[in-house]
Amino acid sequence: SQQGEEDPQALSIQEGENATMNCSYKTSINNLQWYRQNSGRGLVHLILIRSNEREKHSGRLRVTLDTSKKSSSLLITASRAADTASYFCAPAMDSSYKLIFGSGTRLLVRP
């Protein structure tokens, strides 16, 4: 399936440090999307990276994609307490209608 598996399951860092979380998947994809979910809220789209792209940036976020290893990473630089949330990856085929989420990485940024 196109389900992504996030690693680690939980991550606790100090404010100002960088946070790296990883996503692995098993099938070919056209794109991979990262989402953030604050407690009790909906998911917020962060970045979509296409299969022909290797790296993408958005503000303090950097996403890499290695299709040969079927893996992606999300780096948050200079983390803030407001970055505390769960982060989900969703590998996808353009022809598919659905996103398949794993259990996510729970990030805690300590002030």
């Binding site: 909906g42 998911l43 209608y97 996103l99």
Partner: protein, 114 residues
């Protein structure tokens, strides 16, 4: 520009009852998907609606049904509620069907079954 709105925000029902959840997509979006998220888990796809038709369905029983209206808003209906249906129900919209566009999520409806 309003994003995805869902109602109600919270709902308490008892086993065997029926429930209807509502979703208004982001302006300019014509596709609506529904997800169920149990506590501590990632969202699970229920189904997607486009042009008032169900385009794809996840692994959910027929007790879960939906509808999309001409103004693109959508309803999720769940019959014969079970304790295991307690979850956060999320609606997501996008400008086109499929998974090649980012999904815009509402804040969900928290459904509790007693």
């Amino acid at each position: 520009d309003a994003g995805v709105t869902q109602s109600p925000t919270h709902l308490i029902k008892t086993r065997g009852q029926q429930v209807t959840l509502r979703c208004s997509p982001k302006s300019g979006h014509d596709t609506v998907s529904w997800y169920q998220q149990a506590l501590g888990q990632g969202p699970q796809f229920i189904f997607q609606y486009y042009e008032e038709e169900e385009r794809q369905r996840g692994n959910f029983p027929d007790r879960f049904s939906g509808h999309q209206f001409p103004n693109y808003s959508s309803e999720l209906n769940v019959n014969a509620l079970l304790l295991g249906d307690s979850a956060l129900y999320l609606c997501a919209s996008s400008p086109h069907q499929g998974a090649k566009q980012p999904q815009h999520f509402g804040d969900g409806t928290r459904l509790s079954i007693l």
